[in-house]
Protein backbone atom coordinates (compact mmCIF):
# COMPACT_ATOMS: atom_id res chain seq x y z
CA UNK A 1 0.00 0.00 0.00
CA UNK A 2 2.97 2.29 0.57
CA UNK A 3 5.29 1.01 -2.12
CA UNK A 4 6.55 3.88 -4.30
CA UNK A 5 3.95 6.21 -2.94
CA UNK A 6 4.24 9.97 -2.63
CA UNK A 7 3.57 11.44 0.80
CA UNK A 8 2.12 14.88 0.17
CA UNK A 9 -0.78 15.13 2.63
CA UNK A 10 -1.77 13.14 5.68
CA UNK A 11 -5.25 13.10 4.13
CA UNK A 12 -3.99 10.82 1.36
CA UNK A 13 -3.67 7.96 3.87
CA UNK A 14 -6.54 6.05 5.39
CA UNK A 15 -6.69 4.62 8.88
CA UNK A 16 -5.68 1.15 7.82
CA UNK A 17 -2.60 2.49 6.12
CA UNK A 18 -1.71 4.59 9.13
CA UNK A 19 -2.13 1.50 11.32
CA UNK A 20 0.24 -0.39 9.07
CA UNK A 21 2.74 2.45 9.36
CA UNK A 22 2.36 2.59 13.15
CA UNK A 23 2.83 -1.16 13.51
CA UNK A 24 5.98 -0.91 11.43
CA UNK A 25 7.12 1.98 13.63
CA UNK A 26 6.69 -0.25 16.70
CA UNK A 27 9.05 -2.67 14.97
CA UNK A 28 11.57 0.07 14.15
CA UNK A 29 11.82 1.13 17.79
CA UNK A 30 14.19 -1.82 18.15
CA UNK A 31 16.65 -0.25 15.75
CA UNK A 32 17.04 3.11 17.39
CA UNK A 33 20.66 2.46 18.11
CA UNK A 34 21.40 -0.15 15.50
CA UNK A 35 21.63 -0.43 11.79
CA UNK A 36 19.57 -2.72 9.60
CA UNK A 37 20.60 -2.95 6.01
CA UNK A 38 17.25 -3.18 4.33
CA UNK A 39 17.76 -0.14 2.10
CA UNK A 40 21.31 -0.93 1.12
CA UNK A 41 22.11 0.80 -2.18
CA UNK A 42 19.15 3.17 -2.03
CA UNK A 43 19.75 6.91 -2.17
CA UNK A 44 17.56 9.53 -0.54
CA UNK A 45 17.78 13.16 -1.65
CA UNK A 46 17.05 15.81 0.95
CA UNK A 47 16.01 19.00 -0.78
CA UNK A 48 15.55 21.57 1.96
CA UNK A 49 14.84 24.94 0.43
CA UNK A 50 13.90 26.18 3.88
CA UNK A 51 15.70 25.76 7.20
CA UNK A 52 15.05 22.71 9.31
CA UNK A 53 16.99 20.82 11.87
CA UNK A 54 14.95 18.01 13.33
CA UNK A 55 12.96 17.04 10.26
CA UNK A 56 16.03 16.98 8.06
CA UNK A 57 18.29 15.24 10.56
CA UNK A 58 15.67 12.67 11.50
CA UNK A 59 15.11 11.75 7.86
CA UNK A 60 18.85 11.51 7.44
CA UNK A 61 19.29 9.39 10.56
CA UNK A 62 16.41 7.15 9.50
CA UNK A 63 18.00 6.47 6.12
CA UNK A 64 21.43 5.83 7.62
CA UNK A 65 19.99 3.33 10.13
CA UNK A 66 18.26 1.56 7.26
CA UNK A 67 21.55 1.20 5.42
CA UNK A 68 20.80 3.69 2.65
CA UNK A 69 22.69 6.78 1.57
CA UNK A 70 21.76 10.43 1.71
CA UNK A 71 22.50 13.33 -0.61
CA UNK A 72 21.09 16.83 -0.62
CA UNK A 73 21.25 20.40 0.48
CA UNK A 74 19.87 22.37 3.38
CA UNK A 75 20.07 25.85 2.02
CA UNK A 76 19.72 27.20 -1.47
CA UNK A 77 22.62 29.65 -1.48
CA UNK A 78 25.11 26.89 -2.32
CA UNK A 79 23.02 25.38 -5.12
CA UNK A 80 22.19 26.20 -8.72
CA UNK A 81 18.88 27.59 -7.52
CA UNK A 82 20.86 30.61 -6.42
CA UNK A 83 21.91 30.93 -10.10
CA UNK A 84 18.27 31.00 -11.11
CA UNK A 85 17.51 27.35 -11.78
CA UNK A 86 13.82 26.57 -11.56
CA UNK A 87 12.41 24.31 -8.89
CA UNK A 88 11.19 21.98 -11.63
CA UNK A 89 14.69 21.52 -13.06
CA UNK A 90 16.16 20.94 -9.60
CA UNK A 91 13.58 18.23 -8.98
CA UNK A 92 14.33 16.55 -12.33
CA UNK A 93 18.01 16.46 -11.46
CA UNK A 94 17.41 14.98 -8.01
CA UNK A 95 15.01 12.48 -9.55
CA UNK A 96 17.76 11.17 -11.78
CA UNK A 97 20.10 10.71 -8.79
CA UNK A 98 17.88 9.43 -6.01
CA UNK A 99 15.37 6.70 -5.24
CA UNK A 100 13.31 8.99 -3.04
CA UNK A 101 13.14 12.77 -2.62
CA UNK A 102 12.28 14.61 0.57
CA UNK A 103 11.33 18.23 0.00
CA UNK A 104 10.76 21.22 2.21
CA UNK A 105 9.84 24.47 0.51
CA UNK A 106 8.24 27.75 1.53
CA UNK A 107 6.09 27.68 -1.62
CA UNK A 108 2.69 26.04 -1.17
CA UNK A 109 2.00 23.08 -3.41
CA UNK A 110 5.74 22.64 -4.17
CA UNK A 111 5.78 19.00 -3.07
CA UNK A 112 2.66 18.19 -5.09
CA UNK A 113 4.27 19.73 -8.16
CA UNK A 114 7.52 17.85 -7.52
CA UNK A 115 5.57 14.59 -7.26
CA UNK A 116 4.05 15.25 -10.68
CA UNK A 117 7.49 15.78 -12.20
CA UNK A 118 9.52 13.09 -10.45
CA UNK A 119 9.29 9.38 -11.05
CA UNK A 120 10.78 8.64 -7.67
CA UNK A 121 8.43 9.01 -4.72
CA UNK A 122 8.34 12.44 -3.10
CA UNK A 123 7.88 13.09 0.61
CA UNK A 124 6.60 16.49 1.64
CA UNK A 125 8.63 17.69 4.61
CA UNK A 126 6.64 20.92 4.77
CA UNK A 127 5.27 23.24 2.08
CA UNK A 128 4.67 26.78 3.28
CA UNK A 129 1.69 26.97 5.61
CA UNK A 130 0.00 23.92 4.15
CA UNK A 131 1.16 20.39 4.99
CA UNK A 132 3.67 18.50 7.06
CA UNK A 133 2.37 14.94 6.81
CA UNK A 134 5.22 13.07 8.49
CA UNK A 135 4.93 15.33 11.54
CA UNK A 136 1.22 14.50 11.75
CA UNK A 137 2.08 10.80 11.51
CA UNK A 138 4.45 11.16 14.46
CA UNK A 139 1.80 13.06 16.40
CA UNK A 140 -0.86 10.43 15.81
CA UNK A 141 1.58 7.68 16.67
CA UNK A 142 2.40 9.37 19.97
CA UNK A 143 -1.28 9.58 20.87
CA UNK A 144 -1.72 5.94 19.92
CA UNK A 145 1.06 4.98 22.31
CA UNK A 146 -0.56 6.89 25.16
CA UNK A 147 -4.18 5.87 24.67
CA UNK A 148 -5.74 2.62 23.55
CA UNK A 149 -7.50 4.36 20.71
CA UNK A 150 -7.67 7.82 19.19
CA UNK A 151 -11.42 7.33 18.73
CA UNK A 152 -13.45 8.87 21.53
CA UNK A 153 -10.79 11.36 22.65
CA UNK A 154 -11.23 15.08 23.17
CA UNK A 155 -8.38 16.87 21.49
CA UNK A 156 -7.36 20.52 21.66
CA UNK A 157 -5.10 22.22 19.11
CA UNK A 158 -3.62 25.45 20.35
CA UNK A 159 -1.72 28.23 18.65
CA UNK A 160 -1.37 29.43 15.10
CA UNK A 161 -3.97 27.39 13.27
CA UNK A 162 -3.99 29.65 10.25
CA UNK A 163 -0.38 29.60 9.13
CA UNK A 164 0.96 26.64 11.10
CA UNK A 165 1.49 23.62 8.85
CA UNK A 166 2.10 21.23 11.74
CA UNK A 167 -1.14 22.30 13.42
CA UNK A 168 -3.02 22.08 10.13
CA UNK A 169 -1.69 18.61 9.33
CA UNK A 170 -2.48 17.49 12.87
CA UNK A 171 -6.08 18.69 12.50
CA UNK A 172 -6.34 16.80 9.20
CA UNK A 173 -4.80 13.75 10.84
CA UNK A 174 -7.17 13.54 13.79
CA UNK A 175 -10.14 14.18 11.49
CA UNK A 176 -9.75 10.55 10.40
CA UNK A 177 -10.83 9.36 13.84
CA UNK A 178 -14.17 9.52 15.62
CA UNK A 179 -13.20 12.12 18.18
CA UNK A 180 -15.45 13.04 21.04
CA UNK A 181 -14.65 16.63 20.23
CA UNK A 182 -11.97 18.75 18.61
CA UNK A 183 -11.24 22.12 20.19
CA UNK A 184 -9.51 24.68 17.98
CA UNK A 185 -7.95 27.15 20.40
CA UNK A 186 -6.42 30.32 18.97
CA UNK A 187 -6.65 34.09 18.88
CA UNK A 188 -9.38 35.10 16.37
CA UNK A 189 -6.68 36.33 13.98
CA UNK A 190 -5.13 32.87 13.74
CA UNK A 191 -8.20 30.65 13.34
CA UNK A 192 -7.99 27.59 11.10
CA UNK A 193 -8.35 28.29 7.40
CA UNK A 194 -11.61 27.98 5.55
CA UNK A 195 -10.64 24.83 3.64
CA UNK A 196 -9.67 23.14 6.90
CA UNK A 197 -12.96 23.96 8.61
CA UNK A 198 -14.88 22.85 5.53
CA UNK A 199 -13.03 19.57 5.64
CA UNK A 200 -14.01 19.08 9.28
CA UNK A 201 -17.64 19.77 8.44
CA UNK A 202 -17.73 17.35 5.52
CA UNK A 203 -16.08 14.70 7.67
CA UNK A 204 -18.68 15.26 10.36
CA UNK A 205 -16.05 16.09 13.00
CA UNK A 206 -17.54 17.78 16.08
CA UNK A 207 -15.42 20.83 16.62
CA UNK A 208 -15.49 24.12 18.46
CA UNK A 209 -13.43 27.24 17.91
CA UNK A 210 -12.49 29.15 21.02
CA UNK A 211 -10.07 31.86 22.17
CA UNK A 212 -9.81 30.55 25.66
CA UNK A 213 -7.72 27.60 26.74
CA UNK A 214 -8.88 27.87 30.35
CA UNK A 215 -12.50 27.26 29.29
CA UNK A 216 -11.73 23.89 27.71
CA UNK A 217 -8.59 22.59 29.42
CA UNK A 218 -10.58 20.35 31.78
CA UNK A 219 -12.26 18.62 28.80
CA UNK A 220 -9.08 17.58 27.04
CA UNK A 221 -7.32 14.23 26.71
CA UNK A 222 -4.72 15.66 24.32
CA UNK A 223 -3.45 19.21 23.98
CA UNK A 224 -1.40 19.94 20.88
CA UNK A 225 0.55 23.15 21.33
CA UNK A 226 2.12 25.22 18.56
CA UNK A 227 3.89 28.52 18.54
CA UNK A 228 2.21 31.84 17.93
CA UNK A 229 4.65 33.91 15.94
CA UNK A 230 4.95 37.57 16.70
CA UNK A 231 5.32 38.48 13.04
CA UNK A 232 1.80 37.22 12.28
CA UNK A 233 0.35 40.17 14.14
CA UNK A 234 0.08 43.48 12.29
CA UNK A 235 0.32 45.22 15.65
CA UNK A 236 3.04 43.99 18.06
CA UNK A 237 1.02 45.33 21.01
CA UNK A 238 -1.78 42.95 20.03
CA UNK A 239 0.69 40.05 20.22
CA UNK A 240 1.91 41.08 23.64
CA UNK A 241 -1.69 41.12 24.79
CA UNK A 242 -2.50 37.57 23.73
CA UNK A 243 0.77 35.71 24.20
CA UNK A 244 0.36 35.11 27.94
CA UNK A 245 -3.05 33.51 27.54
CA UNK A 246 -1.66 30.78 25.28
CA UNK A 247 1.27 29.84 27.47
CA UNK A 248 1.16 26.45 29.13
CA UNK A 249 2.13 26.65 32.79
CA UNK A 250 1.61 24.52 35.87
CA UNK A 251 -1.09 26.89 37.01
CA UNK A 252 -3.17 26.51 33.84
CA UNK A 253 -2.84 22.74 34.17
CA UNK A 254 -4.42 22.62 37.62
CA UNK A 255 -7.83 22.01 35.99
CA UNK A 256 -6.48 19.43 33.56
CA UNK A 257 -7.46 15.78 33.55
CA UNK A 258 -5.04 13.38 35.13
CA UNK A 259 -4.27 11.61 31.89
CA UNK A 260 -3.99 14.73 29.72
CA UNK A 261 -1.01 14.56 27.39
CA UNK A 262 0.65 17.63 25.94
CA UNK A 263 2.23 17.44 22.50
CA UNK A 264 4.32 19.98 20.61
CA UNK A 265 5.99 19.55 17.21
CA UNK A 266 9.03 21.49 18.55
CA UNK A 267 11.04 23.65 18.49
CA UNK A 268 9.33 25.55 21.26
CA UNK A 269 10.27 29.01 22.37
CA UNK A 270 8.30 29.91 25.47
CA UNK A 271 4.83 28.58 24.72
CA UNK A 272 5.31 25.73 27.19
CA UNK A 273 7.01 26.74 30.44
CA UNK A 274 10.01 24.58 31.38
CA UNK A 275 8.27 23.71 34.64
CA UNK A 276 5.79 21.62 32.64
CA UNK A 277 8.56 19.34 31.31
CA UNK A 278 8.68 17.32 34.50
CA UNK A 279 4.94 16.75 34.77
CA UNK A 280 3.34 13.50 33.62
CA UNK A 281 1.46 15.51 31.00
CA UNK A 282 4.57 16.40 29.02
CA UNK A 283 4.89 14.05 26.03
CA UNK A 284 6.67 16.31 23.57
CA UNK A 285 10.14 14.91 24.04
CA UNK A 286 8.84 11.37 23.70
CA UNK A 287 6.94 12.55 20.61
CA UNK A 288 10.15 13.97 19.12
CA UNK A 289 11.93 10.70 19.81
CA UNK A 290 9.52 8.90 17.45
CA UNK A 291 10.70 11.08 14.56
CA UNK A 292 13.42 8.66 13.51
CA UNK A 293 11.62 5.30 13.94
CA UNK A 294 8.48 6.56 12.24
CA UNK A 295 10.45 7.91 9.30
CA UNK A 296 12.40 4.64 9.17
CA UNK A 297 9.10 2.78 8.96
CA UNK A 298 7.85 5.10 6.23
CA UNK A 299 11.02 4.85 4.14
CA UNK A 300 11.03 1.09 4.52
CA UNK A 301 7.40 0.76 3.44
CA UNK A 302 7.84 3.08 0.46
CA UNK A 303 11.14 1.67 -0.80
CA UNK A 304 10.98 -1.96 0.28
CA UNK A 305 7.34 -2.55 1.19
CA UNK A 306 4.90 -5.02 -0.33
Amino acid sequence: MFRNRDVIRILDFDREELDELFNETDEMLKYRRRKINILDGKVMALAFFEPSTRTRLSFQTAMIRLGGDVIGFSEVSTTSIAKGETFADTVRMLDSYADIIVIRHRVEGAAQFAAEIAESPVINAGDGTRHHPTQAMIDLYTIRRSFESIDGLSIGVLGDLKYGRAATSFIYGVSKYRLKKLFLISPPLLRARREVLEHLRTQGVRYEETNKLEDVISDLDVLYVTRIQKERFPDPAEYEKVRGSYRITISILKDARDNLIILHPLPRVDEIANEVDNTKHAKYFEQASYGVPLRMALLKLILAGE
Binding site: R106, V107, E108, E198
Partner: protein
Protein backbone atom coordinates in the same frame (compact mmCIF):
# COMPACT_ATOMS: atom_id res chain seq x y z
CA UNK B 1 -41.95 31.50 -21.04
CA UNK B 2 -40.96 31.66 -24.71
CA UNK B 3 -44.06 33.66 -25.56
CA UNK B 4 -43.38 36.23 -22.93
CA UNK B 5 -39.79 36.46 -24.00
CA UNK B 6 -40.87 37.24 -27.53
CA UNK B 7 -42.99 40.07 -26.31
CA UNK B 8 -39.84 41.77 -25.30
CA UNK B 9 -37.31 40.66 -27.88
CA UNK B 10 -37.71 39.74 -31.52
CA UNK B 11 -36.38 36.51 -32.93
CA UNK B 12 -32.96 36.68 -34.48
CA UNK B 13 -32.12 35.30 -37.91
CA UNK B 14 -28.68 34.03 -37.10
CA UNK B 15 -26.59 34.07 -33.99
CA UNK B 16 -26.61 32.78 -30.45
CA UNK B 17 -29.07 32.89 -27.60
CA UNK B 18 -27.61 32.29 -24.17
CA UNK B 19 -30.54 31.37 -21.98
CA UNK B 20 -30.91 30.41 -18.30
CA UNK B 21 -28.18 32.73 -17.13
CA UNK B 22 -28.55 33.16 -13.34
CA UNK B 23 -30.37 36.43 -12.71
CA UNK B 24 -28.04 39.38 -12.62
CA UNK B 25 -25.17 37.82 -14.57
CA UNK B 26 -26.04 38.79 -18.16
CA UNK B 27 -23.71 41.78 -18.15
CA UNK B 28 -20.87 39.60 -16.94
CA UNK B 29 -21.51 37.19 -19.80
CA UNK B 30 -21.45 40.04 -22.32
CA UNK B 31 -18.23 41.32 -20.85
CA UNK B 32 -16.75 37.82 -21.11
CA UNK B 33 -17.73 37.71 -24.79
CA UNK B 34 -15.86 40.97 -25.21
CA UNK B 35 -18.99 42.70 -26.46
CA UNK B 36 -19.16 46.37 -25.64
CA UNK B 37 -22.15 47.33 -27.78
CA UNK B 38 -20.02 49.39 -30.12
CA UNK B 39 -19.54 46.51 -32.57
CA UNK B 40 -22.66 47.39 -34.50
CA UNK B 41 -24.23 43.94 -34.10
CA UNK B 42 -27.70 43.60 -32.65
CA UNK B 43 -27.74 42.48 -29.03
CA UNK B 44 -30.64 41.87 -26.69
CA UNK B 45 -30.24 41.59 -22.98
CA UNK B 46 -33.12 40.44 -20.86
CA UNK B 47 -32.65 40.48 -17.14
CA UNK B 48 -34.58 39.19 -14.14
CA UNK B 49 -37.39 37.53 -16.07
CA UNK B 50 -39.36 34.62 -14.64
CA UNK B 51 -38.00 31.14 -15.18
CA UNK B 52 -39.50 27.80 -14.25
CA UNK B 53 -36.10 26.31 -13.57
CA UNK B 54 -34.34 29.19 -11.89
CA UNK B 55 -37.07 31.41 -10.48
CA UNK B 56 -35.50 34.35 -12.25
CA UNK B 57 -33.04 34.39 -15.08
CA UNK B 58 -31.22 36.52 -17.62
CA UNK B 59 -31.01 35.99 -21.39
CA UNK B 60 -28.50 37.31 -23.90
CA UNK B 61 -29.13 37.27 -27.65
CA UNK B 62 -26.31 38.14 -29.97
CA UNK B 63 -26.74 38.35 -33.70
CA UNK B 64 -24.20 36.96 -36.18
CA UNK B 65 -21.97 35.37 -33.59
CA UNK B 66 -21.49 31.69 -32.93
CA UNK B 67 -19.46 30.86 -29.87
CA UNK B 68 -16.27 28.82 -29.82
CA UNK B 69 -15.88 25.82 -27.53
CA UNK B 70 -13.44 27.77 -25.39
CA UNK B 71 -15.90 30.63 -24.95
CA UNK B 72 -18.67 28.20 -24.01
CA UNK B 73 -16.40 26.72 -21.35
CA UNK B 74 -15.76 30.15 -19.93
CA UNK B 75 -19.46 31.01 -19.90
CA UNK B 76 -20.02 27.85 -17.84
CA UNK B 77 -17.81 29.27 -15.12
CA UNK B 78 -19.86 32.46 -14.90
CA UNK B 79 -23.30 31.02 -15.62
CA UNK B 80 -23.28 27.31 -14.76
CA UNK B 81 -27.00 26.92 -15.56
CA UNK B 82 -26.80 28.51 -19.01
CA UNK B 83 -28.04 26.91 -22.22
CA UNK B 84 -26.58 27.90 -25.54
CA UNK B 85 -28.87 28.02 -28.58
CA UNK B 86 -27.34 28.42 -32.00
CA UNK B 87 -29.80 30.07 -34.37
CA UNK B 88 -29.78 29.84 -38.15
CA UNK B 89 -32.72 30.97 -40.31
CA UNK B 90 -34.66 31.89 -37.20
CA UNK B 91 -34.47 28.30 -36.01
CA UNK B 92 -32.59 26.70 -33.17
CA UNK B 93 -30.16 24.36 -34.91
CA UNK B 94 -28.20 23.41 -31.82
CA UNK B 95 -29.13 23.57 -28.18
CA UNK B 96 -26.75 22.62 -25.44
CA UNK B 97 -26.25 23.12 -21.77
CA UNK B 98 -22.93 24.49 -20.67
CA UNK B 99 -20.95 22.03 -18.65
CA UNK B 100 -18.64 22.68 -15.76
CA UNK B 101 -15.79 20.21 -15.91
CA UNK B 102 -14.60 18.37 -12.80
CA UNK B 103 -11.24 20.02 -13.23
CA UNK B 104 -10.39 23.43 -14.59
CA UNK B 105 -6.96 23.82 -16.11
CA UNK B 106 -5.32 26.95 -17.36
CA UNK B 107 -8.33 29.29 -17.49
CA UNK B 108 -7.78 30.77 -14.04
CA UNK B 109 -4.93 31.64 -11.72
CA UNK B 110 -4.75 30.83 -8.03
CA UNK B 111 -5.37 33.78 -5.71
CA UNK B 112 -2.67 32.62 -3.31
CA UNK B 113 0.58 34.44 -4.18
CA UNK B 114 2.57 31.73 -2.32
CA UNK B 115 1.15 28.97 -4.54
CA UNK B 116 3.62 27.09 -6.75
CA UNK B 117 1.46 28.03 -9.77
CA UNK B 118 2.25 31.70 -9.14
CA UNK B 119 6.02 31.32 -9.08
CA UNK B 120 7.74 32.95 -12.05
CA UNK B 121 9.24 30.59 -14.66
CA UNK B 122 8.01 27.38 -13.04
CA UNK B 123 6.43 25.25 -15.78
CA UNK B 124 3.22 24.52 -13.92
CA UNK B 125 -0.33 25.08 -15.13
CA UNK B 126 -2.87 26.18 -12.50
CA UNK B 127 -5.37 23.39 -11.89
CA UNK B 128 -8.54 23.50 -9.83
CA UNK B 129 -11.05 20.94 -8.66
CA UNK B 130 -14.71 21.92 -8.65
CA UNK B 131 -16.17 21.55 -5.16
CA UNK B 132 -19.54 23.19 -5.80
CA UNK B 133 -21.29 23.87 -9.08
CA UNK B 134 -23.87 26.52 -8.32
CA UNK B 135 -22.61 28.93 -7.22
CA UNK B 136 -19.29 27.72 -8.52
CA UNK B 137 -16.55 27.15 -5.94
CA UNK B 138 -13.19 25.64 -6.77
CA UNK B 139 -10.08 24.58 -4.91
CA UNK B 140 -6.48 24.81 -6.13
CA UNK B 141 -5.04 21.32 -6.56
CA UNK B 142 -1.61 22.54 -5.51
CA UNK B 143 -2.09 24.81 -2.51
CA UNK B 144 -5.76 24.02 -1.69
CA UNK B 145 -6.87 27.62 -1.58
CA UNK B 146 -10.61 27.90 -2.18
CA UNK B 147 -11.85 30.35 -4.81
CA UNK B 148 -15.40 31.68 -4.72
CA UNK B 149 -17.61 32.50 -7.70
CA UNK B 150 -17.14 36.26 -7.47
CA UNK B 151 -13.36 35.89 -7.64
CA UNK B 152 -13.65 33.53 -10.61
CA UNK B 153 -15.85 36.03 -12.43
CA UNK B 154 -13.50 38.86 -11.61
CA UNK B 155 -10.64 36.96 -13.24
CA UNK B 156 -12.63 35.87 -16.29
CA UNK B 157 -13.87 39.33 -17.17
CA UNK B 158 -10.61 40.96 -16.24
CA UNK B 159 -11.77 43.37 -13.59
Amino acid sequence: MVGEKELIVRKIERGTVIDHIPAGYALHVLKLLGITGKEGIRIAIVMNVESKKLGKKDIVKVENIELSEDTVNRIALIAPTATINIIRDYKVVLKRKVKIPKRIEGLLTCINPRCITNQPREPVMPRFRVIERNPLRIVCEYCETIMEHEEIIRQLIGE
